[in-house]
Symmetry: C2
Subunit: 401 residues, 2 copies
Amino acid sequence: MALIVQKFGGSSVADRDRLFNVARIVADTHNAGNDVIVVVSAQGDTTDDLLAKAGEITCDASGREMDMLLAAGEQISCSLLCMALSELGCRAISLLGWQAGFITDRNHQRARIRKVDTERLECEIGKNQVVVVAGFQGINRADDLTTLGRGGSDTSAVAIAAAMKADLCQIYTDVEGVYTADPRVVGKAKKLAEISFDEMLELATLGAQVLNNRSVELAKKYAVRLEVLSSLNPVPGTIVKEVAAMEGMMIKGVAKDENVSAISVLSVHDVPGIAFKVFSLLAQRKINVDLILQSVGRDGTKDLSFTVPSTDRKAAVELLTEQLSRFGGTGVQYDDGVAKVSVVGAGMQSHSNVASTMFEALYENNINIRMISTSEIKISVLIDAKDANKAVNAIHEAFVG
Amino acid sequence: MALIVQKFGGSSVADRDRLFNVARIVADTHNAGNDVIVVVSAQGDTTDDLLAKAGEITCDASGREMDMLLAAGEQISCSLLCMALSELGCRAISLLGWQAGFITDRNHQRARIRKVDTERLECEIGKNQVVVVAGFQGINRADDLTTLGRGGSDTSAVAIAAAMKADLCQIYTDVEGVYTADPRVVGKAKKLAEISFDEMLELATLGAQVLNNRSVELAKKYAVRLEVLSSLNPVPGTIVKEVAAMEGMMIKGVAKDENVSAISVLSVHDVPGIAFKVFSLLAQRKINVDLILQSVGRDGTKDLSFTVPSTDRKAAVELLTEQLSRFGGTGVQYDDGVAKVSVVGAGMQSHSNVASTMFEALYENNINIRMISTSEIKISVLIDAKDANKAVNAIHEAFVG
């Protein structure tokens, strides 16, 4: 008998039929002799509906009241799923975030889990019943409701799996697992049987939106065995674990991220500390800088180029324009029409031909590379957004086939 | 400076405009220098929507999961009202039932309040802000959510007013107060400036659905000064208190209740204990018996007639038919086409002409009386349902004018 945590997202519990579909998966797992803790998100459009209600009233709601409002979403879905489970003859009890012991810090809307107090979870699971936990939410030391921010339910599931030392944490989605590329873009994309935490982290960061990054980091930290699989198609998914089998394939995936903008600060002083000043300024405003390119100095000046998430572009350009004189720069340029394409795979640093294979594939397809960044397990290039899908296909063809 | 509890029902907070209307009332009260605790119900159709969701899944949901589901309704409305208050520049904080200290017994869907732990309420109200409490809900000793059943938000408001020793508990509704009769039935119905708890209780029981009975009982027990008033029309409402001023009018109201059925058990043995047996049988099934008429015994038998709520008629008739032999009865008859009409007013027992005035009014309008019941502060008659509105008008004319 194993303890399995199963997480279902909003579309998986969107309506009556979907709820019964989920209830059947859960009941089957329980009937097979496992202890099961289920984590659910709010139903389909519930969160959007609640946000719309708040938006009618104010565009400046306090984080505390937004959390109070939004937490109602999972409260509804977790009780409904328990009703569906009971209807299938499977005993079940719902627990809100605070009832399940989720203690967080005081940050509303993006709270961090401090700990999961498992006393009640252990008590309820000991009664031979399924426990359905409202994901995404917790409580702070002041007894106020908090929410965990984007991808919060994935994080809830992994946190429970870690705290309860579960044998497996299954993240059910609407895809069958982690693919070598987005199947909507690359027809030949292959499902991976296994992937390592680090590879998954790079893929998640790079825009493969299967698993939230925070949940992968947490899983890695507590060595929680993850499985990404489909709630609609009952086939094995992708296992995420510390070290993945090599599968004769070094490259685990090709990802693209179109939500990036390129910014250049032109002709700044070519003296020590300039890059530090520019990027610390952005860091103070919580703007994450990704790819960075610095031109070779000439005539005592150089250009500094980098990418930021598209949503931060406006703020970054305004800030830099305002402070431009501090760096002696002559102007700030930006370009929203770019995309980042990356190959990810552990072990690529010991294979010198990965980069050249990637660049060759792009060259053969007449795609211009604007910036390049490499890490131990990935190579990213910035290209024109219009070339993104062509680039993903070309790179996938070169590495995976 | 006074502490005022204000309760707003579901229709008062149904949408954006209604929420801002409520927020303005609350902010005005607060700005006038009062401490304000607000109790809200779920928005307009939220509860019905949630019940429909559950109904799609099962017709036999556990009380615990229904409470979990329904409690989301007030969670939504209380956070939205806080946002509206903030938008008006009035600081506010929302508290769920359990955060506001509502400890209940273990009965789901109709929990009784055991106590209100006012520690947090006192702390938050001390911060010069409005506290908005989710009505209708609490928590039991097992840390599970409970709901208080019908009219629960009224009860929540009165319980807070009692526990916090509030100076006034205002129940906002869509009528301007308590009337001498239903204004939709009697054009000349007058709003009462004051009414006593006992009179209000009789009126509530008799179908004047302004205030829930449980909340009036609670207010009487803890001497909470109540005011019933309109959230749409800012005029003084009706004060409910221990002893109401006489106002030169002995009769406080004329009420009708059409949700009654008459049942007769024919020719039961005319021996001691028969009435006890019949009514204890009904009491075991939680069927409330109201007006009772026992015919004069003849030939060793008598007929026993009484009224029950229409919703209990089927169960009562089935039960009595099944057990008929125990009383020696020859049959069970029922009639759903009846209505109860009552006059209510403290002091009427010392005025012998109340009954005769009432009967005369009915006689002059050719309305037949089928059963009569009197108490210290009311006289009720059972008549044909088709005559109910005519009877209410005739009696109102005779007493109030």
